[in-house]
Symmetry: D2
Subunit: 466 residues, 4 copies
Amino acid sequence: MEQYDEKLHEECGVFGVWSEAGTQVAKDVYYGLLALQHRGQESAGIAVCKTDGPRDIIDRKKDMGLVTEVFSEEDFAKLQGNMGVGHVRYSTTGASNLENAQPLVFHYLKGTLAMVHNGNIVNDEELKMRLFDEGLVLRGTTDSEKVACLIARLRATEPSIEKAAKKAASILKGGYAIILMSPRKIVCMRDPLGLKPLCLGKIPTGYVVASESCALTAVGAEFIRDIEPGEVLTISKKGLESDRELCGSKHAHCVFEYIYFARLDSKIDNISVYSSRFRAGGCLADTYPVEADVVTGVPDSGLAAAAGYADRAGIPFRLAFQKNSYIGRTFIKPTQEERESAVHMKLNVLGDVVRDKRVVLIDDSIVRGTTIARLIRMLKHAGAKEVHVRISSPPFLHPCFYGTDVPETSQLIAKRLSTEEIREKIGADSLGYLKLNDLNTITNGMDICRACFDGNYPTEVYQETE
Amino acid sequence: MEQYDEKLHEECGVFGVWSEAGTQVAKDVYYGLLALQHRGQESAGIAVCKTDGPRDIIDRKKDMGLVTEVFSEEDFAKLQGNMGVGHVRYSTTGASNLENAQPLVFHYLKGTLAMVHNGNIVNDEELKMRLFDEGLVLRGTTDSEKVACLIARLRATEPSIEKAAKKAASILKGGYAIILMSPRKIVCMRDPLGLKPLCLGKIPTGYVVASESCALTAVGAEFIRDIEPGEVLTISKKGLESDRELCGSKHAHCVFEYIYFARLDSKIDNISVYSSRFRAGGCLADTYPVEADVVTGVPDSGLAAAAGYADRAGIPFRLAFQKNSYIGRTFIKPTQEERESAVHMKLNVLGDVVRDKRVVLIDDSIVRGTTIARLIRMLKHAGAKEVHVRISSPPFLHPCFYGTDVPETSQLIAKRLSTEEIREKIGADSLGYLKLNDLNTITNGMDICRACFDGNYPTEVYQETE
Amino acid sequence: MEQYDEKLHEECGVFGVWSEAGTQVAKDVYYGLLALQHRGQESAGIAVCKTDGPRDIIDRKKDMGLVTEVFSEEDFAKLQGNMGVGHVRYSTTGASNLENAQPLVFHYLKGTLAMVHNGNIVNDEELKMRLFDEGLVLRGTTDSEKVACLIARLRATEPSIEKAAKKAASILKGGYAIILMSPRKIVCMRDPLGLKPLCLGKIPTGYVVASESCALTAVGAEFIRDIEPGEVLTISKKGLESDRELCGSKHAHCVFEYIYFARLDSKIDNISVYSSRFRAGGCLADTYPVEADVVTGVPDSGLAAAAGYADRAGIPFRLAFQKNSYIGRTFIKPTQEERESAVHMKLNVLGDVVRDKRVVLIDDSIVRGTTIARLIRMLKHAGAKEVHVRISSPPFLHPCFYGTDVPETSQLIAKRLSTEEIREKIGADSLGYLKLNDLNTITNGMDICRACFDGNYPTEVYQETE
Amino acid sequence: MEQYDEKLHEECGVFGVWSEAGTQVAKDVYYGLLALQHRGQESAGIAVCKTDGPRDIIDRKKDMGLVTEVFSEEDFAKLQGNMGVGHVRYSTTGASNLENAQPLVFHYLKGTLAMVHNGNIVNDEELKMRLFDEGLVLRGTTDSEKVACLIARLRATEPSIEKAAKKAASILKGGYAIILMSPRKIVCMRDPLGLKPLCLGKIPTGYVVASESCALTAVGAEFIRDIEPGEVLTISKKGLESDRELCGSKHAHCVFEYIYFARLDSKIDNISVYSSRFRAGGCLADTYPVEADVVTGVPDSGLAAAAGYADRAGIPFRLAFQKNSYIGRTFIKPTQEERESAVHMKLNVLGDVVRDKRVVLIDDSIVRGTTIARLIRMLKHAGAKEVHVRISSPPFLHPCFYGTDVPETSQLIAKRLSTEEIREKIGADSLGYLKLNDLNTITNGMDICRACFDGNYPTEVYQETE
């Protein structure tokens, strides 16, 4: 059930494009960002540059809001260039301001630099002190600015921006997918563990990079491959140049991309998001079979797993909820004293689908448990005889240090209650979570980071001060 | 496939509430309108009144835009009252301005009057001349203002507003669902043919009326019954008073409410919208069986019929499209020269669902045929071996005079081409439309208006000049 | 001292233009309204029409706000026509909404009608009952709508719009300047007493009418003459046609136009506003001579009288206040606890001008007395040895029923205190008001309405209920 | 004649306040900026900080627009602090964006730093290379950011922020008035030549600094003294601490502050702006006497000199123009083909003042000459027999490198034409400019920078590349 307050939030989506001199790419970045909008709805920005123009001219527009709110037709008259980067951002309240919105643009010894960044640097504090000790001055509070400053400084002693990027990568710890736009080239880098996704596509006049392959599709690009964990890829007039020196064998791909973050029509590190969710449904059907009449999912994030469960269990898959797509950010929520809840406004049960039926209800995760409890009540009120809940991920128990916004641990229901207690509290007739080992099944045995479920972090972590 | 340029548009949704003196209803109207937003996205308005206040004070806010755009928290501090009416409107371009947005408010001999109206009066021109001859002056160009003026004038010689409303009903021709707010009561009226829907619900402190039952659910009201065609229902301190003198035996309920306009979770004239669409899918499976691997629907309007087809045919129902819910009215469409089409941005195929599969694709209607053609191309490009299109309504051939916005006849593909020609043009492997007679099956034999399919209009019609 | 909360407010300015078919007049109306903006800052609107177009097409834009806020470049692409009317409005809070903003546009038996109106109809209630009895329905609460409806109704039995206007004039009581735009002509009417101003100008392609001559200048029009009190003037392809049947010999021109409302560069009923104020200063110098070093005025409304005083008294005229022109409607006023007052922010004393000087300070009127008291304190704090206040109007004692917004009588300082008591309260060294008889001097002996000073109303008046 | 396109523009106004812990200063900054709005209308910003709060929390709001447009009531709920700085900015188009708007806020080794800056650093390019060589990364393109970075870097080796500021001052060349807000104190610095103004005032709970004394008055502060050229003044819990090591004997106060930039009611470096302009008028009367009937000035900037001329020449001073104060930035200018000019809309002649008169017209400067030419034509058209123009500054001939925005030299009329040729071109009967030597008279012999008139720059200057 997407975009509800209950849910975890990805923090960003990035997009970049390099095209032949003389072409215009700003609209491509726009369409790419639209396809990545689910990764961040708080701010959006585009920066473009001409590879045959002056080295210090970058045109940029960024603002708070959705992509369609930030950009209007006239903006594209001003955003002229054949290279571009774009960014959509979700952010926790405190640091949510325009200064921190991306793309960031910098002026330094070698000209200009634009940067977009998805992820989180865990040695952010260490990095800040290193930069401050060297006399650097920062304008905002994001780790992104620190990374850009680090790269810019390293460029002073490194022969190229891509070498500086690689040097920075050897210093940075955490998860990141970064696209840099230097006056003549695009440089992409992905953290050596592969925590954050980044993929490459081809258009007739050049190349496109994006957080997810659905953004390649949106601009008509052909998917080539994922950027390798640790790879530094340069796109310029010379074509593609790849530096894989930092690529290692230990990977830790974020499993939550498959469970919830990524769009169903994306493929990440060779695994289709749809298929992995469909398989999760199958695993749940194997582990927790139940006699039932209909399988449904919480829109939209539980639907693919529901189809998988239905397929394995041989029970019909049906849509049981009507969604109100007009309820967005400016919706005025009913107060406590008023009759209705926000969940009720956003979803309503289709009584004909569930009346007198035993229902299997699939959702991707339970964070606080309040939403699923309301949905179960709604189903029963509409006549469902039984509601069997299946969750396509294990219980959520640990914070994420790599860029996912998670509520305080004390608010995680699985931290406080047993599965049976949760079942009782939410009013389900049965409740089953995906088994930890099945995470490997759904990701085809790939190396994954599943620290939010088992607490085994793939990097050192630093306690956050805030 | 909702909200695309191709689709027909309903023109309005209405909502009214009467609650005990001292209670506040503006927020209820707000939530009711949110649930009716699919019936009109161009303007929204709320008017409220206190039954124990002065007879000439009505507070109103109306503006162009979506319900969530028009109203902010502070508006509700000003909209004080225990009776209220609300309106959402879609309108064709010409007359689309704030003056015509509803609720309309009038001052006349007996005090004030607010009105909301869904539908279209076919003897509008006759009515205008009658009013002009009597010396009336109009401010806007809508038939709604004329209806209100007619009622207000008739009130001079009729003993009550509900009697004036009934008298007006004997003059008006066409389809309408009207809610009047007089200083002390709410009066509802529905055209004698029942072309436009209107239903009644109960809340602890009073009553609610709405175009669709989903709006009753949204405010926690209990569904009581539909307003009868021809009925004039008055809600006041005395409770409900019904005048059924104009109720006749000839009905003509708009079948397009079931096919496309109404929300799936609504029940209209005792027929569930979901069930009627589900049955349409069953009819299509009976009429046009085909060997296939998966059944899917065009989101969101084809999904219920797809489930019905799947159920009858014993083929799995699956979701095959990923929808981008962030593409709204301000989306900048790609130009012809750019790579992508708007359809492509809004929907993307889930390759895993259709690859190497024979696909049955259900949509509710074909107007111009361009969207369905693109979707078929997308499915085939994603690997679908065959695409069999089933349309859950008959070919659309005739204009509507009762409030539905229809393209010029020359743009209706079914007017120009045979079914086989359409099939070829859109690139489907087979194509089947719902049979005319099945319209009766899906509406359980109820009297319906199906003039858009067969040209038999239930009233006189007047050629529109514009 | 204009625009301060203390001041009286004129309620409207009107503008109209008729030009040859094929020309465009919307921008002229815009510039005309800009020149009349001092007469009303709350809403602005323009309606235009083509004399060779269909009889029922009028394009209009109106909104709350200043002229420059309401209109943007793109509006003028839509406002196409060779005839136009415009309106700026100030209104007391209650009825201040868009529905009441002008131009009003009406549809009736004979086509369309647009109307702009400055003034107030004193038999408004009588008029309303007459219209209601005839079955009319009103949309707003202004007397303007009632006047328009009356004219439209009368048109049914009168042979032309100008005849209907004249017939209406025989029914209306009060002060008004009205410009009607019928599909083929502009009709102007002014109340028989001449309470409200209206003048005529010539442009190469036609004619212009406006509340004040400064608006003629703004569009490069040549001043021809004032519309006569009681005159109905029609401008059409046939040129000017004047109907003077209702013109009488008893006039009552509003003297406050000269004292405060009108712009200094306007000439009304053959009297220059600047000259009348300059003469008022002379009268004050004759009546209340004083030994002084410098004469100054409260910006901007006291400056012309100050020059007149200086001229007569042979004392230098100087500007003694610096005005902050950036403080507009959105200025956040300091709270009581904060150090500064709004007056202080808007005006600051130029110490060099008044230090150790005996100052004569001229203002146009005293309503509540708080502003003048603050200014005197500021002057003394800056070193003025004496401050002698001269007011270029008599004490304000009675309400206005003809369109001027006046505070409740209880708030009028002259109603409660003698001149000597006021002098003491405001801290002036001497205080003199213009003598009643001098009102005739400053207006060259013309028949004037000075009811706000002497209570002799030129028409019956009806006690206002609100 | 202020705010017209013809005029030179000052680039900024700065304001700062230090008050006891627990007090709130944001509103004071707001009122201070309102009083400085004439120094810059493009962007406005306020940053506040608590001296007893964490060292890294600064709250800031800045945006494009006027002070009253940028700030609304709710902003002040968020801007909590007992120290604050504010800024208004005018900027040439290129670099006009939000990133460059001030206050700038920085994070560095010692915590946070907010800065506001008026002026221009002439060794900007040198400074940039120095910073880049040291590895610094910049976000914007202003010299202000470079100055802040320089100070922050120097702080690493200097024992306090005020010492770092002084060290920076020894490196910077040009004109500047800077206010720094460090977590515990306010540090002010003024360039050693005194090119840019900065003064100090006292409020009961602390101190205020501002570009002009009118901003002190606006917040009820008592004027103490000007910050000395070269002085670094620190305001903290310890009171005032002044470091005058860099104060020298060579000064070069910008004479244009007196001629045009500063507000009439300000006193800068012990010279009243009003008096200096009044004296300029006297000088003009001495140098260019003429037989005339009335002396007037172009509103508002020529009025004080006009009074001075009148005083010396014994000719009455009168206001001859009516200004339309509703014409602001969003005013839609008439096109070439339309009848009127922007000047005509903004100013209209008061015919009664000039008819059949010999007029002396004073303006502060002539840049391109188009505005004065139109005004002369308007005066003559209104009946003036003669128009004698007196300009209260010498001919403008050279660019300014210290923060004043000047048109390209080729557009300066005095660069191309002799005084007699200018007189003929603008249509004046006589024309006289203030003599160079009189600049000393009007500034009481103080050391001034008059490079824009004589080309003698008080510092090295670097040719600007752009």
